[in-house]
Amino acid sequence: MELRNNRKMNRRDRLLSLTTTAVFLFLLFLADRFGSDYETRILINCAIFIGLAVSYNLINGVTGQFSLAPNAFAAIGAYTSALLTMTPLEKELSFIVKPLIWPLSVIHAPFIISLLIAGLVTAFMAFLMGFPVFRVRGDYLAIVTLGFGEVVRVVANNAQSITNGPLGLKGIVNYTDMAWSWGFAVITVFLIYRLVQSSYGLALKAIRYDETASEAVGVDTFRHKMLAFTVSAFFGGVGGGILAHFITTISPNLFTFFLTFNLLIIIVIGGLGSTTGAVIAAFMVTLGGELLRVVEEPLFIGGLHIPGIPGMRMVIFSLILILVMIFARHGIMGSQEFSWRWAIEKVESFRRPKGGDA
């Protein structure tokens, strides 16, 4: 048997993947056509969180570098793309305290271009931040990224001639529909999954397990950490752009640490390092969050009035996180990835009679 077969996709796997993706996209299409407005909004939310979580997982899970920046990245992406898609007239009307600086005031770009630029700008920010941090092994990444989040918020609040300050940006065109959001999710998952499965992914995992040994086998740990961080930031920034054109109003207080916390919960529940896990957990947490909305609303049970407790969902999520950390440290997937071989073996092990009397 050739050893490599265990790592490679064969014809069957590729066919299965294509079919499943097609079926899934068709289901989404049906949901888009026949679902209620509320339902499509939840699904769009799901897609955005899948993309954000999978890209966050690349640096935190796969590479094992503890970044706390995804909210800041989403904010940069959101502001960048929104400033590009708004028409000069809209911008002039929005920026009432201080006018928007030239050339942002006259630029008007299509959505897709604005997303790409949002991604690039965000990746560049990550590059600038990563450079000094990863020179010293990356131990300070958490602190630096946390600080960076604050800086972004302060800048968003105060650089009025770019961000419009606390007023934020309103009237962003609602470009993000099912197609855009799921397009973003599918492309992000596809590309990051491929990266993780490639030789580069192996090097990133090696860094996560042992930096010293990685260097000993010729892996430039600095370069690879930079790579993971900037790629992660790129998709995080694009996700921010998608998000901005979904909620259509953005302000500095939208991108708080809560967003990062949510994503952290998702990738921990999914299993740090597993792209598959991040997708599954993003689904669960976003849908779960909707279902749990009940606990924050006032309830009438048998004539009894229970007032809703705002923030209760966060408490529940935190509890779930703590329980996962204690009882299921490896999350849903561990650091495993889904593969057809793995799935087929799982199914067959269920079908096989137990007890060795085969």
Binding site: L195, S199, L202, A206, Y209, A213, A216, V217, G218
Partner: protein
């Protein structure tokens, strides 16, 4: 041109001089041993050569260029691979993946090409798989290829670490106590393996080892360190009878 040479290497940690004025040259295909009591500074010499410590003083030449102070990954790509005294595998990766990753440093395709799986990347990936299969077979670990490397017994972990180092394509291999924790029959196998690999790949070996029988049999030349100082050097037979060496070892016990 010398193949490999250290001149006046010194390493100080605060007030402690771990290695003092160390000189060594190695010819192509040579097997040299580095011995000495615990704490003599042997591993520190490896760490300087392999790019983990910038020497406090002295220079290191390899293949005609200075490599002292270079980063470890660059030293590796120039052709020096090492193993660690306390085995450093990627425990959560499979045995096969441990060897695969050793080829990554030579990959020419960018991450972008890897993401898109361009023809060039695929060609390189094929090559990477072949090499990994080859080196696993070389150390006799093909049958455990898909096991988690952290779950292997000790002796096999040592051999895997050698396969991984070999897969980076070195000309000089630094082995830090490769026989530690092995039973006598494993030690003999290791000896045969190393001699065979040396022949086949034209390797030079620098070996640290406490197992005297092993080191005396495999090395053509030995260097003895004590408290960072070189106290003796020569052929195994000469070293065995050197009064200073005997004293250093006995004094320790």
């Amino acid at each position: 041109m010398t193949f490999f040479a250290c001149e006046n290497l010194t390493m100080r940690f605060g007030g402690l001089t771990a290695v003092n004025d160390f000189n060594l040259s190695i010819e192509e295909g040579e097997i040299v041993g580095l011995i000495g009591p615990n704490g003599a500074g042997k591993t520190t010499v490896f760490n300087m050569i392999a790019g983990y410590h910038r020497p406090t003083g002295g220079v290191i030449y390899f293949g005609g260029q200075r490599i002292d102070g270079m980063k470890a990954n660059r030293v590796n790509r120039l052709g020096i691979a090492r193993t660690f005294q306390n085995i450093r595998l990627f425990p959560e990766l499979s045995v096969f993946e441990n060897v695969l990753v050793a080829h990554h440093g030579r990959l020419k395709s960018s991450f972008f090409e890897a993401m898109l799986r361009t023809p060039r990347y695929r060609r390189e990936e094929e090559q990477m798989y072949s090499r990994a299969e080859h080196f696993l077979a070389e150390v006799g670990l093909t049958d455990v290829a898909h096991e988690r490397s952290g779950a292997l017994p000790y002796g096999k972990q040592r051999r895997l670490e050698i396969a991984r180092a070999l897969a980076t394509g070195p000309k000089l291999l630094l082995l830090d106590e490769p026989a530690a924790g092995m039973n006598p029959s494993e030690t003999v196998e290791l000896l045969e393996l190393l001699l065979r690999l040396r022949e086949k790949y034209g390797l030079s070996l620098l070996i640290i080892e406490h197992d005297m029988k092993f080191i005396m049999r495999i090395c053509e030349r030995l260097k003895v360190l004590d408290y960072g100082m070189t106290i003796a050097e020569g052929r195994p037979a000469e070293i065995q009878n050197d009064a200073k060496v005997i004293e250093a070892y006995l004094g320790e016990e």
